[in-house]
Amino acid sequence: MSKNLTDQCVSSEIQRQASRRWFLQQCGVGLGAIALRDLMASENAMAADSTRDPLAARPSHFPARAKNVIFLFMAGAPSHLELFDYKPQLAKFDGTLPPAELLKGYRAAFINPNSTLLGPKFRFARHGQCGAELSELLPHLSTVVDDIAIVKSMVTDGFNHAPAQIQMSTGSLQFGKPSLGSWTLYGLGNESKNLPGFVVFSTGKKGPSGGSANWGSGFLPTVYEGVEFRTTGDPVLFLSNPRGVSDSLQRQSLDVINELNRAHLDAVGDPEIATRINSFEMAYRMQSSAPEVMDLSREPKHVLEMYGVEPGKPSFAATCLLARRLVQKGVRFVEIFHEAWDQHGAWFAI
């Protein structure tokens, strides 16, 4: 009896410890600390070898076929109810008021409970061997439906633009958590030495309403943050040398800056200085590699036609092709954030 009690105590202690460990690891404290410890541990190595790179490519923990990610975040987007998600019941109740039992206790910020239900406005059909139901609005996607995955199990408790975007990007409604791209870069590193490992294009008419927290590194070290590329003007702002600065002057200046920063790193040991050295090196390499990779006129004609791209004319398609060029150069994660897809009542203008 008493032995059983002791066992119970031990077991509940283990549970308590386990849940405490879970809390520390899952709730932000643990992972940030691990990342920091990782950087601090390498700092001793850095004293001997100051070229250690926190963005070095690392093998994945599990066998994987995918090596890079292109993430098209089409904020707003046409309704899933008109594209992928056929609802026969909704079609049946089209134009009627929602049943009273459905609205019991229902509270909404923007939606009038006396609005009538809207059924699907476009025809759906099954496609491919998998039999996925797609609407007539997706004639091309329906021909490749066996090659894609449609996830219908996603739900969200964030229903307004900015927090919902941040939840999609980081898993949390509030900012401060690392984004998908940051985690990917943190886990797998970058295969390109001349370009950032996590590149973001913000296309459309404006930037995301959730702001750059959508590609932020949260509590991870800031080297894992997404770097924004532009499709108009210089791909990256301030990419060109100032007037009168030759390439050799730029290179020699960086050599002295990094040398003095490295001496300071050896003296104070702040890993952020290593990040700064890294940033300056990458900035220099970006100065030559970014304009080259952004030059779509180097693409063969059939690829341009496949994407529907006219070189020199910015478009969503052109940005998609740029994303492809970047992953071909070893960039781990490219995100295209397109903020102009929001539809609301604009459906019937099609």
């Binding site: 900015a162 900012f175 950032p196 008419k205 404006k206 930037g207 309403s209 959730g210 702001g211 750059s212 927290a213 932020g216 590194s217 800031t222 080297v223 943050e225 770097v227 924004e228 532009r230 108009t232 003007g233 210089d234 990256v236 702002l237 301030f238 990419l239 060109s240 040398n241 100032p242 007037r243 009168g244 600065v245 050799s248 002057l249 730029q250 020699q252 200046s253 002295v256 800056i257 040398e259 003095l260 920063n261 001496a263 300071h264 104070v268 702040d270 952020e272 200085i273 990040t275 700064r276 050295i277 940033s279 300056f280 990458m282 900035a283 970006m286 100065q287 910015p314």
Partner: protein, 210 residues
């Protein structure tokens, strides 16, 4: 340091800072395309300051909600469209490009180099020490002075093969209005000091508080 303070440190260390208090926002240099469609919703007015109002504290920079001022944005200044409880802190290649290449940051190097050559009867090392102290707010170590002096001499040597016009483009804030140089100071000497000022201003210690 936050973006505004980074900018202010550069302005103050280079002697350009206009410390006038109050008044409406000002329009320091900014890439023009940002204020025209498609980068912006519609055409916006950006009346670039011609006088030294462009060197006001970064706090006075005029900001559109939809077009944040890019040099500050790169240093994590929040956009105007959401409330900001606490600023994030980043350390990116874009920041390096900003302090190395952006117009107004470059003007700070030009101004600091000019200050360094204007004091009479100082050795090269003393001039370097003085620039270093203005930027880093501590005395440079002998090793640091030696490294910077080597760099300065190398650059002066390399500048000797460039034309006067090239040196004016590099070393003067406004090449069409060259400032007066002290007697005995050649253009290539000024240019070498500007290049050295640019190195010192870009040290990690200038914009990071340990």
């Amino acid at each position: 340091m936050s973006g505004e303070i980074v900018r202010d440190i550069f302005l103050a260390a280079s002697g350009l800072l206009n410390d006038k208090v109050g008044g409406p926002g000002v329009y320091p240099p900014s890439p023009k395309f940002l204020y025209e469609p498609p980068a912006s919703y519609g055409p916006k007015t950006w009346n670039l300051e011609q006088g030294n109002d462009r060197y006001r504290r970064a706090l006075y920079t005029f900001r559109f909600r939809s077009v944040p001022y890019p040099a500050l944005l790169n240093f994590d200044a929040p956009r105007g469209d959401t409330a900001c409880v606490r600023r994030s802190r980043s350390n990116t290649p874009l920041q390096a490009l900003t302090t190395l290449n952006e117009d107004l940051f470059m003007d700070c190097s030009r101004a600091l180099g000019l200050i360094a050559v204007q004091t009479r009867d100082l050795s090269v090392e003393d001039r370097i020490r003085s620039m270093f102290r203005r930027c880093v707010t501590r005395e440079a170590t002998p090793a640091e002075v030696a490294r910077l002096a080597t760099f300065l001499n190398e650059q002066e040597e390399q500048f000797s093969s460039r034309t006067d016009e090239e040196l004016r483009q590099f070393a003067y804030i406004d090449p069409s209005k060259p400032p007066e140089l002290p007697a005995g100071i050649a253009m290539m000497r000024l240019a070498a000091f500007v290049a050295t000022a640019r190195v010192i201003l870009n040290l990690d210690e200038v914009i990071v508080k340990e």
